[in-house]
Symmetry: C2
């Protein structure tokens, strides 16, 4: 498998898992959190498939394509190690979907980062809410669920907050 | 269609067209030219599927993932408006495949760039050689051919140099 193959699998799986999560949480009205904006392609997809829910983007510095730059009041600017706890104080356990693509090239550093931020992500989810990630996460009480058929194993992960 | 949808279609089409081109030119031994290295994912794919042919990368400044950085003597460093004519002097009309993903966000500027470099690309191809591009190109004498079934129309283009 080339790096292009892996990348395509990751993007296809990301889309499949987001689409699945939007359907599976359609009974929830809480906000959708996108961790990391990057180019803005995935944000653009989320805002296309989500309706009736607020979408907030966590990002250190906005550098997205102008075609998919979120409104200023929907960006939570700063390091997620600070903005995630701040979001908990502001929103409580209300998020219907949290999506993260840590997306670094260094797998070991990604994994360390995933371990570091998992405890700050976990309390934000509403009961029934889903966390979709391109990396394996480290949660105490969330349940890892099956990814949809059109996603590729190992390229994305979905976790659910049960009652 | 979201920008993520368009991007996935582009990457899938790029891979499909490269794979097709490698098969369709398997009788040729001339070099493969990759215009633009970027992250190096597509270069990584090309070197996986091409065998027995030299691969040269045209790039202004190498900033690829270390996992897919070409050997120094296979990088033609500089602006393609200079390195393409230099390659013609060095290699003549010998290229079996030329691949380009201009990949800018500004469609109009991409198109201008495609027009500007098309005349410098065209003479590099061997008879039977293929040019694969994510953008529409502007050639005098190359024949645009059908893209493979698993590629998406408008997301990639293939041109052939006939005898």
């Amino acid at each position: 498998m080339s790096r292009l193959d892996v990348f395509i699998d990751r993007m296809v799986s990301q889309r499949a898992c987001i689409d699945f999560a939007v359907q599976a949480t359609s009974h929830l009205s809480g906000p959708v959190f996108e961790l990391g904006l990057g180019n803005g392609r995935t944000y653009d997809h989320i805002r296309e498939v989500v309706s009736g829910r607020d979408i907030f983007v966590f990002e250190r510095e906005v550098a997205s394509n102008p075609a998919s730059t979120p409104p200023e009041d929907r960006v939570l600017l700063g390091d997620v190690r600070e903005t995630l706890p701040a979001a908990l104080a502001r929103f409580g356990a209300t998020a219907s979907i949290i999506h993260a693509d840590l997306g670094g090239h260094n797998l070991e550093r990604n994994d360390q980062f995933a371990r570091a931020i998992s405890p700050a992500i976990e309390p934000l989810l509403a009961v029934g809410g889903l966390m979709v990630s391109s990396d394996c996460m480290y949660f105490e009480a969330l349940t890892e669920i099956e990814i949809p058929e059109n996603a590729v194993a190992g390229r994305c992960f979905i976790y659910r907050k049960d009652a």
